[in-house]
């Protein structure tokens, strides 16, 4: 039987850096997931407050309901980033698949951001639908600012996963 030669120091270093980058990506994804969970709770609270203060008018948007759709989308993104969802692709050592999931969820966060931005725009400029919801607008604006960070973190390039965009 031929004796197996020990891995070269270069190979060891590559392997170690792959593990480090893998752990780093997992930590960043986990951070985004935790953030999304807390944001969805805050949005739900703001939706309730907007419901109390905003005036309901036929043919005008119900901004509390709009918040609830964003909350639903955030929860869906949080679920897609659950460790078990990512585990299936990680076990196959398929970084491209993980990158694709992150990129897709990043796009979904952009959609949520835009919807929150539209809600804030209406809260800021139209008192006929928003009532006096300045506090709620500020809370949602703070979430937008934090969402921007999550959007950056989920970029496969930032996570050092294979780029999936062509």
């Amino acid at each position: 039987m031929k004796k197996r030669s020990p891995p070269s120091s270069r190979a060891k270093s590559d392997s170690a850096s792959a593990v480090i980058s893998h752990v780093r990506a997992a930590q960043l994804i986990e951070a985004v997931k935790i953030y999304i969970e807390s944001a969805s709770v805050i949005i739900d609270e703001q939706a309730g407050l907007i419901d109390e203060r905003a005036k309901r008018a036929p043919d005008k948007p119900d901004l509390g309901a709009c918040c609830r759709l964003v909350r639903w989308a955030l929860v869906a993104t949080g679920n897609a980033l659950q460790p078990e969802s990512l585990y299936a692709v990680r076990t196959n050592n398929d970084r491209r698949a993980v990158a694709a999931i992150c990129d897709e969820q990043r796009r979904h966060l952009l959609w949520c951001r835009a919807s929150l931005d539209a809600i804030c725009r209406m809260l800021r400029t139209d008192s006929s639908v928003s009532g006096r919801s300045e506090d709620e607008r500020l809370a949602l604006a703070a979430i937008i600012a934090d969402l921007d960070q999550s959007i950056v973190l989920l970029d496969p390039a930032v996570l050092r996963l294979s780029p999936v965009r062509g």
Binding site: D59, K60, P61, D62, L63, A65, C66, R68, L69, V70, W72, A73, A76, R107, H108, L110, W111, C112, R113, A114, S115, D117, A118, I119, C120, R121, M122, T125, D126, V129
Partner: protein
């Protein structure tokens, strides 16, 4: 072998419910496409400033929800002779009510888009608002359609109890 008339009626109604659900799914698929086209129009027709909401991306959330509703309704459209009509009725009622509850906020997101375009965009494109209105109506029609399915299921239940 003679079939129990109650079971026969229930399975027949299950088939009708399944057809209506398939109609709803087809409608959801077509308005998902409309959401996609509207998003593209909103993207191409306007240049968004940094402080303006990217309305085309709002359609993305609506589209995401519609795709989920489409997928969730799929198993309800599949019935067979072995399907327990009572269990199926319960499942249809519960699922359809959940989907209706989820779809209602989508109407308001589209309505917010219309409101912003009409009120804050003085030179709005003539085609965008009608497309958004069609999307709003389309989602409302799905909500009504699912309501009809629930109503049908409830009527069926009452008939079975009375019979």
């Amino acid at each position: 072998m003679m079939q129990d008339p109650t079971t026969e009626m229930a399975s027949l109604d299950a088939l009708i419910a399944s057809e209506i659900i398939e109609d709803c799914r087809a409608h959801v698929a077509s308005i998902t496409e409309l959401a996609d086209i509207t998003a593209r129009a909103l993207r191409e027709c306007y240049e968004y400033e940094d402080d303006e909401p990217q309305l085309w991306q709002c359609c993305g959330v609506v589209r995401q929800l519609l795709m989920q509703v489409h997928a969730t309704l799929e198993p309800l459209g599949i019935v067979s002779q072995e399907t327990d009509p009572h269990a199926l009725a319960m499942r249809i009622e519960k699922t359809c009510e959940e989907q209706r509850r989820m779809l209602r906020p989508a109407v308001h997101v589209v309505r917010a888009g219309i409101y912003i375009v009409e009120n804050f965009e003085p030179n709005h494109n003539d085609q965008v608002v009608p497309a958004l209105r069609d999307l709003e109506k389309g989602i409302s029609m799905v909500i009504d359609g699912l309501g009809m399915v629930i109503q049908g299921v409830l009527t069926q239940k009452q008939r079975v109890i009375a019979g």
